[in-house]
């Protein structure tokens, strides 16, 4: 018997039992619905993550560190037992080995690296604003990254790859909301003061005795009192709130020179002076950052490319997607039993028909095919219904989802693509065929004489 005839007969049998066919395929549709949404959400998240990375990090950028644990390798950020190093720096309550000036020299010596910018740690004790006198705030302070220009709502930015002046600061729009500043224009040029507090030097017993001898108790008090310094900066611009640009909406931007100077001031006299947990390096255009990473690894300096960071984000996305898909697969497994049950009943109901077909010379394997194809049709129908509903519902809910979780205009959580959906439907047809295997075998083995002996 020709395959096309069998497929046609299978379709016809299903049409004759419309309600049953529909109900069985609806069970599959539930699984298909979940899987379609999971795939769409995964794709959407990946695209979103991609967007975030691209608007925050130059693809040629390398994040370089001495300590692998910074990148979540070798035990991760949770600590554990690590070798002691004199060159370690405290970061986030964790001792991390910092890059020494020797390491910095090595990095700078790399021919493929265009520019090296240490990540200066500028921990301001507090920040105060001219327009909000008497109030003290805390904020992160970072270097203005010239490779990723944020959008501004007030003021202006220097040209591309141009650093802002050393006495200038860029303030995120979100801060103005906190401050209650309505007129952005007036805010430009106003004063922002960073209060830096330098921890006192830890004194040895000998030093304490020496100070006591020369300056007395007053001198000792002075020596153990933290030094403070106020840095006055003028607001150059207000950066626009962006969902995809992370740092632009959460930290004050200062120039590289200022950051270096302040960092040096804060660490001078300590073992952290001019040693950095991480530096950012810009790889020359046309050179794959990954090759530079490998070169550095040979020198025991570890680097992370933009792609690595993307991979890290994707791992999380994949994990979440995997969990949702797991539920979809569970729904599918349940529906497999639905198909098996339906097809068994169908075989029983159509005993006579099967007997007749076999009496007329239809091969057992063709009878089996007929039932398997019916199951495949059910899978196809379920897949189409489930994914179509998911597609329509997802597309119409997308704007609402974007607004609710604040993805920012133009970004959608659910990104539907035709190819994965087609793949899913084909997969469900295969699932149908697998589920139809046992009922089909029962039909194939039916004895025509037995089947035709009725009444």
């Amino acid at each position: 018997m020709r395959r096309v005839d069998i497929v046609r007969r299978a379709g016809r049998s299903l049409r004759q039992a419309k309600a049953r066919t529909l109900l069985t395929s609806l069970a599959i549709a539930v699984g298909a619905f979940t899987l379609t949404l999971a795939i769409a959400a995964g794709e959407g998240s990946r695209q979103y993550a991609d967007k975030i990375i691209n608007s925050n990090i130059d693809p040629q950028m390398l994040m370089i560190a001495k300590d692998k644990t910074l990148f979540g390798e070798g035990g991760g950020m949770t600590g554990g037992l690590r070798e002691y190093s004199e060159n370690a720096t405290e970061y986030g309550g964790l001792k991390l080995e910092a890059l020494s000036s020797k390491d910095l020299k090595r990095i700078k010596a790399n021919k493929n690296i265009e520019k090296v910018t240490p990540t200066y740690l500028v921990n301001a004790q507090y920040v105060s604003f001219q327009q909000k006198k008497g109030k003290k705030y805390t904020s992160d302070v970072t270097v203005y990254d010239t490779s990723v220009r944020p959008e501004v709502v007030a003021g202006s930015l220097p040209g591309k790859s141009q650093q802002i002046a050393d006495d200038e600061v860029i303030v995120p729009e979100a801060f103005l909301e906190t401050l209650g500043v309505k007129e952005y224009g007036k805010f430009i040029g106003s004063r922002v003061t960073l209060r830096l507090a330098k921890p006192p030097k830890e004194l040895s017993e000998k030093e304490v005795q020496r100070i006591m001898m020369t300056d007395g108790l007053e001198g000792l008090e002075k020596a153990t009192k933290p030094k403070t310094r106020d840095v006055k900066l003028n607001v150059r611009a207000v950066s626009k709130q962006s969902v995809t640009s992370l740092s632009a909406s959460s930290a004050l931007f200062i120039s590289e020179n200022t950051a270096q100077e302040l960092s040096d001031y804060l660490t001078k006299g300590t073992d952290q002076y001019q040693s950095y947990i991480s530096v950012m390096a810009l790889v020359k255009k046309g050179i794959d950052p990954a090759t530079v990473k490998d070169e550095l690894t040979k020198q025991n300096i570890y680097a992370m490319t933009a792609e690595d960071l993307q991979g890290l984000l994707f791992t999380i996305v994949n994990l979440i997607q995997g969990i949702v898909m797991g539920f979809g697969v569970l729904a599918l497994i349940a529906s497999i039993f639905g198909i098996i049950n339906t097809q068994y009943i169908s075989v029983l109901e159509r005993t006579q028909q099967i007997g007749l077909m076999k009496a007329l010379g239809m091969r057992g394997k063709d009878v089996a095919k007929l039932f398997r194809y019916e199951a495949a049709w059910i899978g196809f129908l379920g897949g189409v219904i489930g994914s179509a509903v998911a597609w329509i519902l997802g597309t119409s809910l997308n704007p609402w989802i974007t607004e609710t979780i604040g993805l920012g205009t133009g970004n959608y959580l659910l990104v539907f693509q035709i190819l994965p959906v087609v793949g899913l439907i084909v997969g469900l047809m295969i699932v149908g065929i697998v589920a139809g295997y046992f009922p089909a075998r029962k039909a194939a083995k039916l004895d025509p004489i037995e089947a035709l002996r009725t009444e």
């Binding site: 018997m1 020709r2 005839d5 007969r9 016809r12 004759q16 006579q352 028909q353 007997g355 007749l356 077909m357 076999k358 009496a359 007329l360 010379g361 239809m362 091969r363 057992g364 063709d366 025509p448 004489i449 035709l452 009725t454 009444e455």
Partner: protein, 233 residues
Amino acid sequence: MIEVENLRKQYGKKQNTFIALKSVTFSVPEGETVAIVGKSGSGKSTLMHTMSGLDAPSSGTVTIDGENIIKLTGKELDHFRAKKIGFIFQSFFVQANETVEDNIGLPLEIADVPKKMRKSKIAAALKAVDLSDKIHAKARDLSGGQKQRLAIARAIVNEPRVLFADEPTGNLDSVTGDKIEKLLFDYSKEFGATLVVVTHDEELASKCAMQISLKDGEVVAIRTSKKKEARRA
């Protein structure tokens, strides 16, 4: 030509054996009409099943068109049935949900008849049983007689060499039954096909050229009626 030799069929094993056919031997000339008669349990249905290749005998041979069908493999036997044999059953076994056309198309599909040729064959078979106007009707909407005519159309659409009819008129009134009988005999005559009818009905049996009487699985009498000779002349 159908030759049946020492056909034996037994069911069950050891103490529970039941012998349905005990060494049945006879032969039917090409194009002949045969009635297999006997009471219930005489083994006439079993004989028909083993003769037609639906069931395997315990021993013996059945030769149709010079081919010993007992020796055929399952696949060859299925193919043989599809090409050479037509079946008509007491309870029609038409597919109620399908159209008349789809019902008749089934044996053509099974026998791998190319799609182009199906339409004309279906039309011819429907014409033979006078159901041409019902081609697109659902089988469930047909009367009993029409259903059996549909079953005949399905049986003859592939122009089989042998037609097996199991109580073809058993579920029909006498007027309708007569029409059905006529259709079967006409087909046999027109195509020179052998017709084997299994029946209780003495009247139907007497219309056949040959009557084989079975009792307890044995042939008790083979009669060749003169009527047949007369008709031939």
